[in-house]
């Protein structure tokens, strides 16, 4: 039984998708919450589904100053679920520095800067658990995923470094590595392609594509004391997608 009572968890990217699902689930499991994202209305919608104490703090994590201000408002937490991220497929031959900045600022730099600020401010309680979200595309790229894959692989490396450096305080950091999840981003992506192409993609998943709750369940476990011996790992969740892939 996962029990998060007495813990305060910060969730980034809490306005939609996996972040929203994580927030709702960890609240059901007893945790108090700090929710952040860029869209006040969407964050309020998430907050309306939270049963425990919940603080909403608007923050654009692509802006360093906003990260610093956000971190200052967090006095004491036991966990961080860093779910903020963007998907912006872009073929390599068109990449300019602005595209690198856009993707890496939110997908990679924000996690690093948020953690460094929270450590400096001594906001993490001993034994805190951090969970980051990577993607199977970090190791198995698709067309246009270069920047996204780089950002996610970087996040995995960061989580391992964090878990090593902060192990003295019994802090843990882990990464969930999902394949395709049925979020609003996927819904928007689907709109660009014909039905046959989408069916072909989804057919590659023996267990079907994932739902946000599938990922949220793993994140809640990693945030809990049940996972107290697990740190520095990346846990793949792909509905069997890569079973036939030997790479």
């Amino acid at each position: 039984m996962i029990d998060l009572k007495g813990k305060k968890i910060a969730v980034t990217g809490a306005s939609s998708g996996i972040g929203r699902e994580v927030a709702i689930l960890v609240s059901k499991l007893g945790a108090d919450l700090i929710l952040t994202g860029r869209n006040q209305e969407a964050l309020n919608e998430t907050a309306s589904q939270i049963a425990t104490n919940c603080e909403v703090i608007l923050c654009d994590l692509s802006v360093e100053e906003e990260i610093e201000n956000f971190a200052k408002k967090i006095k004491s937490i036991d966990g961080l679920a860093h779910c903020a991220g963007i998907v912006q497929p872009f073929p390599i031959k068109f990449i300019k520095s602005k595209h690198i900045d856009t993707v890496l600022k939110i997908n990679l730099y924000s996690g690093i800067l948020l953690c460094s600020n929270l450590l400096r401010n001594k906001s993490f309680n001993n034994g805190s658990s951090l969970v980051f979200i990577s993607s199977v595309s970090a190791d198995h790229p698709y067309n246009g995923s270069a920047l996204y894959s780089i950002s996610k692989k970087g996040l995995e490396a960061f989580a391992r470094s964090f878990s090593l450096e902060q192990s003295i305080q019994k802090m843990r950091a882990n990464v969930v590595v999902p394949a395709l999840v049925n979020t609003n981003i996927y819904e928007k992506t689907k709109a660009a392609y014909d039905e046959e192409f989408i069916k072909k993609i989804e057919a590659q998943y023996p267990l079907g594509i994932g739902e946000p709750i599938d990922v949220a369940n793993m994140i809640a476990f990693l945030l809990s004391n049940n996972a107290q011996w697990i740190t520095g790992t990346s846990i793949k969740m792909d509905g069997g997608l890569l079973l036939n892939n030997n790479t």
Binding site: P89, F94, K96, G144, K188, K190, A191, A192, Y193, F197
Partner: protein, 77 residues
């Protein structure tokens, strides 16, 4: 950029296509070998030339190169 120049420049990005194969009225999804990669190229091409990010929904509304060009022109204002 005129419609003709837009068509020619986009055609050049589809490297495997014989020059002169596509015209403003070509349905770009019917171009031989069309794939998801080509859709990404269209989005990236518009981004780099016009600083406009077309969404998946924008693409869905278009069939021909001319449709694409018209959407871009509307956004440019």
């Amino acid at each position: 950029m005129t419609l003709e120049a837009f068509t020619k420049a986009l055609e050049e990005e589809f490297e495997e296509i014989t020059p002169g194969t596509i015209s403003p009225d070509s349905n770009y999804r019917e171009i031989e070998g069309w794939s998801s990669m080509h859709a990404l190229i269209v989005i990236a091409f518009v981004d780099n030339h016009y600083d406009i990010i077309l969404s998946a929904a924008d693409l869905k509304q278009t069939s021909t190169i001319k449709d694409l060009y018209n959407i871009v022109q509307q956004r440019v204002g």
